[in-house]
């Protein structure tokens, strides 16, 4: 029993943070709103660090890591609101491609040459224009090249995470393009990894917003004192911190559960995943509401960076199951009846 981060986790997370501090400040996230085709430079840098291919075996050009190994680094990609499908590529697509034996694309991912986004059945697809490939994740799991994808861009709340709504493929009741499989375990485990990867990013997003807010209220003076010296502000922010601190271990535990049960077959795994996504979504949501409120009108201003992270948080909280949906799933996994 030792729930501290491993040396490897700490080092990869720290290298990721250093990279993103330099290469993905708020200005890059902001500018990406005008560049739906993606941030190729940033992706190359992430690939040099090994993140897209982190789960690819070492002999295939990857880092050979487990889901848990990667989560703290993904948290950093959340903190920086990386405007690219890193969770989708590294955590969702790679194991599906590897299982289907598409070694070529796996190698391209590890080399940084492929960017794979994922289209969950019935949900808008993020970063489709920036991706080289799209995995359709429904009853049937299949792979399209971007050229094969038919869909329409729709305006997104988070402009740095552009959305595409699919046409005929939306339901994923059949295979389009290259078949990756139809076993229920494929989709189930991929959805679980997506939820946990996003949960890690949500924790990072929450931490970022909290630190922006703490800095602001310590500095901003109203009524002759720092805004952060008011009891109401202190207590709001203490609650926000609490939510973040309790989400973090839940996310890591979900990673461990998935590594021990990669097909996500056990009820305990389902519970761990639901706990991670629900807790992290709620934490990010509470932090963003609190942050906007503690900033006053400043928090309601597009030119101020807070909103970039708040909007990414709202987008990720809504994706791959809302908090309420994950609570319902957790209850089901506990065998709790549902009634009218």
């Amino acid at each position: 029993m030792d729930f501290r981060l491993s040396e490897l986790q700490r080092e990869l997370a720290s290298a990721t943070r250093d990279l993103l501090d330099a290469r993905c400040p708020a200005s890059v996230v902001r500018a990406s709103r005008e560049k739906p085709d993606g941030v190729a430079d940033l992706w190359s840098a992430l690939a040099e660090l090994g993140l897209p291919g982190a789960l690819v075996p070492e002999d295939a050009g990857g880092l050979g890591l487990s889901t848990t190994d990667l989560l703290p680094a993904l948290q950093e990609t959340g903190r920086a609101a990386v405007p690219a499908p890193i969770v989708e590529t590294a955590l969702v697509a790679v194991p599906l491609l590897a299982a289907a034996g598409n070694a070529e694309l796996v190698a391209a991912v590890a080399a940084g040459d492929a960017v794979v986004t994922v289209a969950p059945a019935g949900e808008p697809v993020p970063w489709a224009a920036a991706a080289t490939h799209v995995v359709l994740l429904g009853e049937h799991v299949s792979l399209l090249t971007r050229a094969e994808l038919r869909g329409e861009p729709v305006p997104a709340v988070d402009g740095s995470r552009p959305l595409t709504v699919l046409g005929g493929e939306a339901g994923h009741g059949e295979t389009h393009g290259e078949a990756l499989g139809t076993e229920p375990a494929l989709g189930r485990s991929a959805r679980a990894r997506a939820a946990v990867g996003l949960a890690a990013q949500l924790v990072g997003l929450a931490e970022r917003q909290l630190s922006i807010t703490v800095e602001y209220v310590a500095d901003r003076r109203q009524f002759g004192v720092p805004v952060g010296s008011f009891q109401a502000v202190k207590h709001h922010l203490a609650d926000a911190l609490l939510a973040v601190r309790f989400a973090r271990p839940a996310v890591l535990a979900a990673g461990l559960a998935l590594d021990a049960d990669p097909v996500a077959a056990d009820a305990a795994t389902a519970r761990a995943v639901a706990l991670a996504k629900a807790t992290a979504s709620d934490a990010a949501d509470l932090v963003s509401t609190t942050a906007v409120q503690c900033h006053g009108a400043m928090g309601y201003t597009d030119e101020y960076d807070l909103q970039l992270y708040a909007k990414r948080g709202w987008a990720l909280a809504a994706a791959w199951g809302t908090a309420t949906e994950h609570r319902a799933a957790y209850g089901d996994a506990l065998g709790l009846p549902r009634s009218h």
Partner: protein
């Protein structure tokens, strides 16, 4: 005790409904907080004015119908029920006009009110400054008395729709020796005056709905003073009182938004489990509770009991109801909540509710101190 409307009031409602049904644009206008949308909304404002529905509670001489507060409430219900456009003239009509009626000279009223009603003058609010947000009394923009008038200098910010308006009302420090609430004067400033620079900037939702207004030695005549030199705080507080209370957000708005929420819910029966169904109901119930609270409040108002600090209760209630309504809508939309459309925009706008017109923290303190009588020591 009687909750039924008189025949006259019912007739008024029928007339309003008929006119709105005939005139409300079939397709929603683009957001009035963008330059293009604002123009479209101005047209609508002029249509309203021509139908004599722009300012129903004002005297007929200024374009109104001398409607009672009851009729105003009825009109608001019908207005939202009809899905009519947002009122881009709101800050003038609902915030400045009550102040003009209370403190303005006859000449000010006669000059300004008809043009406001007709959406010829478009007023924005000049309260906040970079260093004075929730702490309005910290403002530093100054007014210096000169021959025949005043020179204004300073910077206002977070001015809603400031880039599209023609006039600004706001507070300036007219006594340079003064501090906090003293020595302030309420001025009415044309934005085309020499020395005024307006820069629009984006809100959370991306619309260019805010502006910074820079004033560099701007001359205004003595008639630009509203309510007397040095009386600015008292005059402004009368305005912020109406802002946070009833007139800013009438029950009709929330009866309609929760009706739309139930429509959305009916489209997503698969999501009506857990807290979501109860939240949909809760929002609907709160909208009805707000309506009833308002009817009690207006019953007092029309018989001479002023609302006072209790209007802070309205502000807290509707702003939280608005967040609940939109948060629940997004829960119903699931992953679609990430798409930029009216519910997700509305959610973002709802987050401003606890901030503008005096933060909810300030409202709670007002309620605790002025309604409950708790001691003011400490913060």
């Amino acid at each position: 005790m009687d909750l039924s409307w008189t025949d006259d009031q019912q007739a008024f409602r029928a007339e309003a409904r008929e006119w709105l049904t005939a005139n409300v644009p079939a397709r929603p206008l683009p957001s009035g907080d963008t330059r293009g949308g604002f123009t479209a909304h101005l047209e609508w404002e002029r249509t309203l004015f021509e139908g004599r529905w722009a300012v129903v509670s004002w005297p007929a001489a200024y374009g109104g119908r001398d409607a009672s507060l009851w009729e105003w409430l009825i009109f608001e219900e019908e207005y939202y029920r009809a899905g009519a456009p947002q009122r881009v003239t709101q800050n003038g009509i609902f915030l400045l006009a009550p102040t003009l009626f209370e403190f303005g000279s006859q000449e000010q009223q006669d000059t300004l009110l008809p043009r406001m009603a007709a959406a010829q003058d478009l007023w924005c609010q000049g309260w906040s400054e970079p260093g004075a947000g929730s702490d309005l009394a910290a403002l530093t923009s100054r007014a210096t008395e000169v021959d025949g008038g005043w020179r204004l200098s300073g910077q206002k910010t977070w001015t809603t729709r400031g880039a599209f308006c023609t006039h600004l009302f706001g507070l300036f420090r007219s006594d340079p020796e003064s501090e906090r609430h003293k020595g302030l004067t309420y001025f009415l400033v044309p934005l085309d005056a020499e020395g005024v620079t307006v820069r629009g900037f984006g809100r959370l939702d991306g619309d260019e709905g805010f502006a910074e207004v820079f004033l560099d030695d701007v001359f205004v005549p003595d008639t630009a003073v509203l309510g007397g030199v040095g009386n600015g705080w008292r005059v402004a507080m009368a305005t912020t009182g109406s802002e946070r209370g009833l007139t800013l957000r009438s029950p009709g708005r929330f009866l309609e938004s929760t009706r739309r929420l139930r429509e959305l819910a009916a489209e997503h029966p698969e999501r009506l489990s857990g807290r979501v169904r109860e939240d949909v109901v809760d929002a609907s119930m709160r909208a009805q509770a707000y309506q009833l609270f308002t009817l009690a409040q207006v019953s007092d108002l029309v018989t001479g009991t002023p609302a006072g600090a209790e209007s802070s209760l309205n502000k807290i209630f509707w702003s939280e109801l608005d967040i609940l309504t939109h948060r629940t809508a997004l829960a119903l939309r699931g992953a679609e909540a990430a798409v930029d459309e009216s519910w997700s925009r509305g959610f973002q706008f709802s987050l401003a509710g606890p901030i503008y017109a005096g933060t909810n923290e300030i409202q709670r303190t007002i309620v605790a101190e002025r309604v409950l009588g708790l001691p003011r020591v400490g913060r």
